[in-house]
Amino acid sequence: MSEPAGVLGIRFDKIDKRYGGLYALRRVSLEIAKGECVALVGRNGSGKTTLLRIAARLARPTSGTVTFVGGPAGDDSRVTPVGFVAHATMLYDELSAEENLLLFGRLLGVPEVSLRVAELLRETGLYDRRASMLRTFSRGMRQRVAVVRALLHRPSVLLLDEPATGLDSVSVEWLARTLRQLRDSGCTILMSLHSESEISALATRAVRLDAGAVAGDSATAGSVGAILSWSVAG
């Protein structure tokens, strides 16, 4: 896996997100340093997905700001330097795996996109199925393509929303290996998890959300393991 260009950190400053009268996030302030691998844990509805979507700039906070820190000065490119893997695959079922990846590679302006797509498909073991329609893929195979899609442009920040959901043990192993390589190459990773697994073992920091607020952070108190196990037990 190649090194991401211009590694960035993320700063959440007093983020509130309200849907009508309901608070999804309440005064969330977090500073994620460049190259950190942060596990975001918490019960269903604690605000993990909302925080990730705000980080990806897919949702606008009601108040507060999100900043990518450490980017090249004067870079006001609208395309966010993030790769995002969500619950949904964010891929077109009626296109093949290769067509999907070429589409997003071209939109992102990936240089030599055909070569890059072929390289990533080989790494994931999907090269032989590259021309197959995505609708014929299993959940695990789709998730692999979704991760590849998020890595196409060598993002400096990777956001993953429960990336191991629905994956078999082989796919989880592949995902853990891929994320480890990215973490070791300096990519900033923020991922939401709801159970301890090979993926959570990669985290260098754990943050627990409860009812939309930060309820625990291994950077200030407690260990990564303690926060992860508390969350699973809770």
């Binding site: 700039r57 993030v82 969500a86 949904a88 695959t89 009626e94 296109l95 589409l103 997003f104």
Partner: protein, 224 residues
């Protein structure tokens, strides 16, 4: 990537997925064919009167068919949350609209041109000699329908009663396009074959105004 490059790539995707499934084109062609044939049975098409009311009926058929065609435009993007990743991937969100409205205009224009000979036969209205002018009117009318329809499709896709919402919003908004297109078409199909520059200019202005509004405010329509 520039706006045009992004829009071109996305237009390629829209055309590829449609020509693979042929969902929209089949639905629209069958719908317009049925309406044209049924209207021809309902009215006396042997008299010269048909030249007066037939263009209005034709454009009504186009408008209802378009509301069917535009419905899945953004709904399709919700299946796997592909709209989110498109927003992350393009340098300007207007590229998403530009590609979709270009695809919708092409599909609608293709259907209209396919139905023109059928209309000519069933309504006993010769169209030879005015085809280039008709193509211009069809293009401007289709563009107007697509620009407004694509924007409203983005809004209605997030609404609760989405199937009902689009026609309710779209049909009143497109009344000026319906009137201008029907009047321009009626003048062309008249034995005098008049080219009504005033109605054609009206259609062009409608298109430019709505395109500009979409360019300025389209981003907000895609937000969660």
């Amino acid at each position: 990537m520039s706006l045009v490059s992004n829009a071109t790539v996305l237009l390629g995707k829209e055309l590829r997925t449609e020509f693979r499934s042929r969902e929209l084109l089949t639905t629209t062609v069958v719908f317009i064919l049925m309406v044209v044939v049924l209207f021809s049975f309902t009215f006396d098409t042997s008299s010269g009167e048909s030249r007066k009311f037939a263009p209005g009926l034709l454009w009504l058929a186009f408008l209802f068919a378009a509301s069917l065609m535009l419905q899945p435009c953004f709904l399709r993007e919700q299946n796997n949350d592909t709209l989110s990743v498109l927003r992350l991937s393009v340098s300007d969100p207007f590229a998403i609209f530009l590609a979709k409205l270009a695809a919708n205009t092409l599909f609608l224009l293709f259907t209209e041109l396919l139905m023109l000979p059928v209309f000519s036969i069933f309504f006993n209205v010769p169209v030879g000699g005015v085809v280039p002018q008709l193509v211009l009117v069809f293009f401007l009318g289709s563009l107007g329908i697509s620009v407004a329809g694509t924007a409203l499709s983005a809004i209605s896709a997030q609404a609760r009663m989405r199937e009902l919402m689009l026609p309710i919003l779209l049909l009143p908004l497109l009344t000026p396009v319906l009137i201008a297109s029907a009047e321009a078409t009626a003048a062309l199909l008249d034995p005098a074959h008049a080219f009504r520059k005033d109605w054609v200019a009206f259609l062009a202005i409608f298109d430019v105004v709505f395109l500009t509004a979409l360019w300025l405010f389209g981003e907000y329509l895609l937000e969660e």
